[in-house]
Symmetry: C2
Subunit: 129 residues, 2 copies
DNA sequence: TAATCATGTGAGCAGTTGTTCATATGATTA
DNA sequence: TAATCATATGAACAACTGCTCACATGATTA
């Protein structure tokens, strides 16, 4: 950029970065805020556990109570209940109490869509591999 | 506690499940195989870490070397390298060596799309909240 | 009311994960 | 060649996660 006298930056990063200064600056400016990216990763994390994915898939289409879900996914009612709380708090599932039972469904059509997109990607990759 | 003679069902699940037997059976039959669901959750898990999401977003559009990525996302080169390996092994990013540097890009257009879908969902939810 | 049932929740734990540090590798340059 | 640089990788560790167990809660029924 200019005839800089300073041979070394204060920070002990690689010097080559200086040649990519613009690229780095641009990438930095395009990168969303930290809290947004954190929220985004937290969102994806919800799908990043096989028990939770199973639960979501199980109630995708049919309304099931905790006990049913427990049997479908093969995890204790307690374990399912813990995961349902997480999913509920993040508004991925909706709960309806009927007597002693609580029925769960997906909160939002998007949730099913997102899982489907993941499926498609996996399947495409399997075709290539 | 007390010596109740009650036989208490063979499996210690809730008995009410029997009334939902059909529903449970149907949900079970519709549920994809365990290994598929496991792979799917592993796939989503890759997006479930803020450092990895940052890396993916950073190289979405511009090709960056490890050192650049390190500066953009604010993690040591070593840490970035470790995560890049994970992303590489799962074919989310592609590496090109040029001299001493290795440039990374997204392996597939789908990857950017999936992140975008997550973004849209987050933003929609923010609007509602 | 007491008993029973479905669900919810806190504690504790084993297994996992992401980071840093130290060092190795592979490439360029003096 | 030796020195330097960018990247890669193994080890170690702290933090996190999901599960089970034990018990609590809220609802129904005998």
């Amino acid at each position: 950029m200019n005839e800089n006298i300073k041979p070394l930056e204060i920070r002990d990063e690689c010097q080559i970065t200086q040649t990519h200064e613009e690229k780095v600056a641009r990438a930095k400016s395009l990168l969303p805020d930290d809290d947004v990216l954190f929220e985004l990763s937290e969102f994806f994390k919800l799908f990043g556990d096989s028990t939770r994915i199973k639960i979501l898939e199980a109630i995708n289409g049919s309304e099931l109570c905790v006990c049913d879900i427990s049997e479908v996914v093969g995890v204790s009612s307690s374990g399912v209940s813990h995961q349902l709380r997480v999913l509920r708090q993040n508004r991925l599932v909706k709960a309806t109490r009927v007597g002693k039972e609580t029925y769960y469904t997906l909160d939002d059509d998007h949730i099913g869509d997102i899982i489907k997109i993941g499926f498609n990607h996996i399947n495409e990759r399997r075709g290539l591999a």
